[in-house]
Amino acid sequence: MSIAKKGTWVRVHNIVLNPSERAPQVPDDTKNVPLEMWDKGFLLNDEAKIGDNVEVETYIGRKIEGKLIEINPSYGHDYGKCVPELLYIGRQLRSILEGGESND
């Protein structure tokens, strides 16, 4: 298991409100689950492994505690998978503009 040393950039997670503490106006499906939070910072503990409760200093300098969930966190978002359903649009539009078929 990888160990993060002091000063490493990490991602932490916390439960902010338990299901019983949620606001009264919240719909039932949301009330059944806790309010969770995620944040990132530099590890302040000498060392820690995934799952440990740690303290971090966020990029702007706040100190917060949380459970270590990722070391050197990265972004996973991308351009998605090919969506073949979109492919007709450009050709259709060009053919209408070129006056093809019966669109005049």
Binding site: R22, K40, L86, I89
Partner: protein, 470 residues
Amino acid sequence: MIKDMSYEGLMSRKNEIMKKAVGIDYFEFESGSIRFDYEKMMRETGYSIQEMQKIQGEAGVGNTPVYELRNLTKLARKLASNGKGARIFIKDEAANPSGSFKARRAANSIYHAKKLGYKGVIAATSGNYGAAVASQAAMKGLKCIIVQECYDSKGFGQPEIIEKARKCEAYGAEVLQLSVGPELFYIFLKLLEETEYFNASLYTPFGIAGVETLGYEIAMQFREMEGKDPDVVVATNAGGGNVTGTARGLIKAGAENVQVIGASVNLKGLHMASDEQFNKKSFTTGHTGFGMPFSTWPDRSDVPRSAARALRYMDRYVTVNQGEVFYITEALAQLEGLERGPAGNTSLAAAFSLAQELNEDKIIVVQETEYTGAGKHIQPQLSFAKENSIKILIGEPKDEIPGKNIILPKEPSLIKAKDLDLNKIRKSYIKNCIANNPNVNITEQDILFLAEETNSNVDFVKQILEELNK
């Protein structure tokens, strides 16, 4: 004294925390009854157009280009009846430093925060505004925290929101992400109290006035390019700031006859605070889930009185479906060579339909675009929809059911903006206003105020009040 940090404890200190964090004593504008002095609030706490042009100009914001969409206009004319098909123009707000018109709102807020001596700013937003605040804060050397509603209870996040988190972090901001729920406001208050930073709310007079330059620029640009004001301006409507600021800017430029049309993506039936439904939508803003509640009760925002009051300014309010916006996003790229983010194209989908109602010599303006990129793009957004069991179909947009399917129009002629009944929305606003002001004796001043708020007249308000037995 140890402060009560429980949900109820913190919420009870809301007004005190907000006053400190916004630097406005909203009480000064209250009448003690329903009415509050909106124009006085805007005048005394906002900035003039000239001041804002200077503030925004120094921050690299504004003066964005306007493009005529000749091919989309040609297409609209092919589909419209003879002589119809207004010229469609778009204002490329993606050219702002953070990639959207929100830079205008942020530039003013951050300037104001800096002037008042705050060390940092906080904004609660999952949208483009977060990136705008982070970008402007970076320019002014202020610290910045963005609070996002991002994930459902399974830990799945909207790709569009994750991209915005990345962008905020790129500007050196701290991004605190939360799972679904309105208690985001609790965390937001807690952070404001802890840091004593400025609340860069979307809804302060400085923020809304920041958008006035957009409307003002449109009038000036069209007078220069075409020698006249445009006939119609379409603005995407969510919290109301875009419509409000743009319309006020047009009025300040003397372009009072321009018809202002609000447009939202139709997400009818989806509950915005539902954990299960959170990832069933493919738009995180610009939709009716914000547009309707904020039009019918603007003061639900994070400040006591919202400066964004769209109902005052909308001449029409239309909806378009998710599939129609995705189609038009593809059309903008394929026919005009402009690849822009889908959410910003909501008003374009509406304008494409509305242009077909207008004569060929008329001018219709789409007043914004937004940046696109990984996560914030038709492809990842539709991939994500599929992963959340949403069916992507090609067919009749009118059959689209939000949360179940997304229907790409099988032909562009099927893109149709649908009018919402503004009188119904006005009535709903009056009803909410009464419900939020119990035990108040409604004065003649209040009735005048309600007529202004709903862009209606005294007779209309009186009739609604009678129906409500008030």
